[in-house]
């Protein structure tokens, strides 16, 4: 039984995660067999409230809601009352009063989804808050890993890239630990957050060590503006010491796969030939994202505590 909201992976039990993945598999089977007008959420209303630019996550959530028969209200922050200075809580209460069942929020500040959830009665789904959490991204990553490997126990997952600014990395680390997988991470020192070792991950000393004998190699997006702020010297140097190349993927297990939350900077985090190889599950992740978002919307709105 899920709680009212989906705010992060930490507040889910292992059983919660596994039941979401099972529902996600059912959803994936349904949409892939052509059934795109399920009616589980008929007459329900889902609002997306995105304070940060996003096309893929927003579209994924909105399609997920529509496929389940829900009405979708899309609040674009750029031309809403938010720009006129309305507070997050006031915006949330307004959405609640137009009979919204669930609000999907993305926000640049960690804890914003919780602030909203604490102040509205409708369900809140966190689509990314600051550097904190991106639970549906982690869940879709888990669904992808489950599809490939069947389970998580003893799975070796390498996460490589800008760990410091990555809510995807944090949510993956939290969930993979619960599921029994082992996580190793690697990043330039300036993009490695303090105290991350206390979460139980292994910090690799080189990109080669991170890839060695891994089942999954997950690249993280690097925002190229960070180079201008001095966090790494150049794209060339980044690729040389931190890039996921064919040679490095070859160090992993024979049937290892490459994942990335996308959008990917081709030739930076991951070499183009790796992205286009059969090792890459980046596009499979997108479909699993739709499925897992359908699963959590349905489970929260119909089955979640309130």
């Amino acid at each position: 039984m899920l709680k009212k909201d989906l705010l992060d992976i930490n507040s889910l039990t292992k059983e919660d995660i596994l039941s979401i993945l099972e529902e996600g598999e059912r959803m994936r089977d349904a949409v892939e067999s052509g059934a795109k007008s399920l009616d589980a959420l008929r007459d329900r209303s889902v609002a997306t409230l995105f304070y940060e630019n996003s096309t893929r996550t927003k579209n994924s959530f909105e399609n997920a809601a529509r496929f389940l028969g829900a009405n979708v209200v899309s609040v674009s922050v750029d031309n809403s009352s938010v720009k006129k200075g309305e507070t997050l809580i006031d915006t949330g209460m307004t959405l609640e009063r137009i009979m919204t069942d669930a609000i999907v929020i993305r926000h640049e500040v960690a804890g914003a989804a919780k602030l909203l959830a604490d102040n509205v009665k409708c369900h809140v789904l966190n689509a990314g808050d600051g550097l904190h959490a991106h639970p549906t991204q982690a869940l879709l990553d888990f669904l992808t890993m489950k599809e490939i490997f069947g389970g998580f126990e003893g799975l070796e997952v390498a996460i490589i890239g800008d760990i410091k600014h990555s809510r995807v990395a944090r949510s993956n680390i939290e969930g993979l630990k619960k599921l029994g997988a082992n996580v190793r991470i690697f990043a330039p020192n300036t993009l490695m957050p303090q105290g991350i070792d206390r979460t139980g991950v292994k910090i690799a000393e080189s990109v080669e060590e991170a890839c060695d004998n891994a089942d999954v190699i997950m690249g993280l997006r690097i925002q190229l503006e960070r180079q201008k702020k001095g966090l790494f010297p150049s794209v060339g140097e980044y690729v040389k010491y931190y890039g996921i190349t064919k040679e490095r993927v070859a160090l992993a297990k024979k049937n290892a796969v490459v994942m990335h939350p996308a959008p990917v900077n081709r030739g930076v985090e991951i070499a183009s030939d790796v992205i286009d190889s059969d090792k890459s599950y980046i596009y499979r992740q997108v479909t699993n994202g739709l499925a897992v978002r359908m699963a959590v919307l349905k489970m929260l709105i119909i089955g979640g505590e309130r």
């Binding site: 507070t87 997050l88 809580i89 926000h107 640049e108 500040v109 960690a110 804890g111 914003a112 919780k114 602030l115 808050d129 600051g130 550097l131 904190h132 959490a133 809510r167 944090r170 957050p193 303090q194 105290g195 991350i196 206390r198 979460t199």
Partner: protein, 423 residues
Amino acid sequence: MKLLIKNVVVFGKECDIYVVDGIIKRIAKNVTYNADKTIDGNGLTALPAFVDMHTHLREPGFERKEDIESGSRAAVRGGYASVCCMPNTNPVIDNKCIVSYVVNRAKEVNLARVYPIASITKGMKGEELTNFGSVKAFGAVAVSDDGMPVTSSNTMRLAIEYAKPFGLPVISHCEDFSIADGGVVNEGYHATVAGLKGISRVAEEAMVAREILIAESLDSSVHVAHISTTNSVNLVRDAKKRGAKVTAETCPHYIALTDEEILSYDTDTKVNPPLREERDRKNIIEGIKDGTIDAIATDHAPHHADDKNVEYNYAANGISGIETAFSVAYTYLVRSGEITLKRLSELMTDNPANIMNIPYGELKVGGLADITLVDLDEKYTVDSREFFSKGKNTPFEGKELYGRVKTTVVNGEIKYDKGEIVR
């Protein structure tokens, strides 16, 4: 005005305190002189009323958060007879007119003594020096650009140099903005887990080091406000060993809380400098024990609920702390066995008053009758709805504390007694 406080504990012994016109005339058992007012001090302990060298009263300009009247009411409820208020008002307290305004307004309110601190630079812009001589002549007791640290090292050097002959303490809010880099909490494990941007301790420590070196080079003094880290304590300790004229304060929240509190995303935990880790908290207490830290100041920073009821990054920094300061310090320092009540009294009264060169109460014949009566054994749960301050922003909400202020006497007059302001 004659005041008699009966059967109160004064440094371990029960006796009566007799006050005439603001001066203690007698401390003895069974005093039977005539009095205009008598207080039954049975079960209570008398302390010299506290002196807060770091308060934000918000007036003029931010009266929605606090004003001189509400802040003064909060001060006496917290056991404070004197407060020094910071100049980050609107307009900034950077000239004799605003200094006079604060002084006069506080006199009208007539509860706690209020001593304005003027800014170091005009408008707290970090450029031209405030007229130190003139603001002092009209009642400013120190200078500080609290909250907007003087970025230019040379401007700070000139301020410390120029202030010396005026005898004006220079108080530095130590924060190197370039290192802080927009962070909102202490950098470390809890910031990483919460996904909130961290502030390196070095943002504070680098400027503590700078101020010490500047003051030392000029044989002048400097006071570092609200230090919160292990290495800030180490820097001040080493400087004092060398004979540098540096004094330091910390605040109750750095003694009692750590950055684990931020995991709730409760914006009442947002304060600058941020709550640190357990090892810092322990080293702050060590610094208090060995005399490195001279004073406990409240950094009372009241805010309107609207300033806090927003996303963590956008929430205002600060804790409304003047009404819980004694209880927090008593619970976490004295009750826990770290220091004696006498030492706490020095940290909260004598030392801050001496740094600011202002009068303070002393429990002796001839002493100024600024007296606070506390019930050391009373355990209570913090409820911000009871605050007299307009700011209800406290991370201590719902926490149990010991040692409650019952009565505050300023200059021989009862200003606060049993939950009420006395006029």
